[in-house]
């Protein structure tokens, strides 16, 4: 049966991660990524913050444990930076 092409999966994962971090970890919407310098990646920093909050391994990467936590039903209040 059909399998989503890898790129499409990655797109969905990135969308889940970004919206979760925008909703609950004050990740600012980045309208000018081309202006950001190479070493700066707010999404990685926020991902680490979320992983630390939930006691997950702090990798800065959307690994399986992190994605599983993001898919859990939860309260709509942000975890940080209310």
């Amino acid at each position: 049966f059909p399998v989503a092409p890898e790129g499409e999966d990655e797109g969905k994962t990135l969308q889940l991660v970004e919206s979760y971090l925008q909703n609950f970890y004050d990740l600012q919407r980045d309208h000018q990524p081309h202006l950001r310098n190479k070493d700066e990646n707010p999404l990685v920093e926020k991902l680490k913050e979320m992983q630390a909050f939930f006691g997950l391994e702090v990798t800065g990467k959307p690994d399986l444990d992190t994605l599983e936590m993001m898919k859990k039903p939860r309260c709509g209040i942000p975890d940080v930076g209310q």
């Binding site: 909703n23 609950f24 909050f53 939930f54 006691g55 936590m69 859990k72 039903p73 939860r74 309260c75 709509g76 209040i77 975890d79 930076g81 209310q82």
Partner: protein, 168 residues
């Protein structure tokens, strides 16, 4: 436990609440009971008291809402975000909003209304999310039988740090 930034708290111990509308997925009496029990989770361990009002403005207004309900925090349909609440204060302060598109229940099926409301009331009283996975104020939903529910120590310590222990 974590206080809400700015340490907002109610200046009075006797508070009022009002249930603005009801989900058709539960009997009205079961919704009333779930919310009454959720309030007693916090009143049992603090000097706070909650009185139900039927038709005027209450400190804590509890309602079921759909998607965009004009508070800049639209709900997202089934699962995902189940509910949210506002920190102590006038107007919308203290209010609890529940996503009407969730499968609310009084038992282990769907999402248990008592557990979710008890968590949101923590926000209504000035607590933020705890990093303690066993705490009621942990951000993600997990079911506990309401008849066996005991407020975890992390949450007791947090709410008593704001309002002090119960007078009883």
């Amino acid at each position: 436990y974590v206080f809400t930034p700015g340490n907002p708290k109610w200046k009075r111990n006797s508070l009022t609440y009002r249930i603005l509308n009801y989900t058709p997925k539960m009997r009205k009496t079961d919704v009333d009971e779930a919310i009454r029990k959720a309030l007693s989770v916090w009143s049992n361990v603090t000097p706070l008291t909650f009185r139900k009002v039927e038709d005027k403005e209450a400190d804590i207004m509890i309602s079921f809402a759909y998607r965009d309900h004009r508070d800049n925090s639209p709900f997202d349909g089934p699962n995902g975000q189940l509910a949210h609440a506002f920190q102590p204060g006038e107007g919308i302060g203290g209010d609890v909003h529940l996503d009407e598109e969730e499968a609310w229940s009084k038992n282990g099926r769907g999402y248990n209304l008592f557990i979710v409301v008890a968590h949101e009331l923590g926000h209504s009283l000035g607590l933020s999310h705890s990093t303690d996975p066993g705490a009621l104020m942990y951000p993600t939903y997990s079911y506990t039988d309401p008849n066996e529910f005991l407020l975890p120590q992390d949450d007791i310590d947090g709410i008593q740090a704001i309002y002090g222990p119960s007078n009883a």
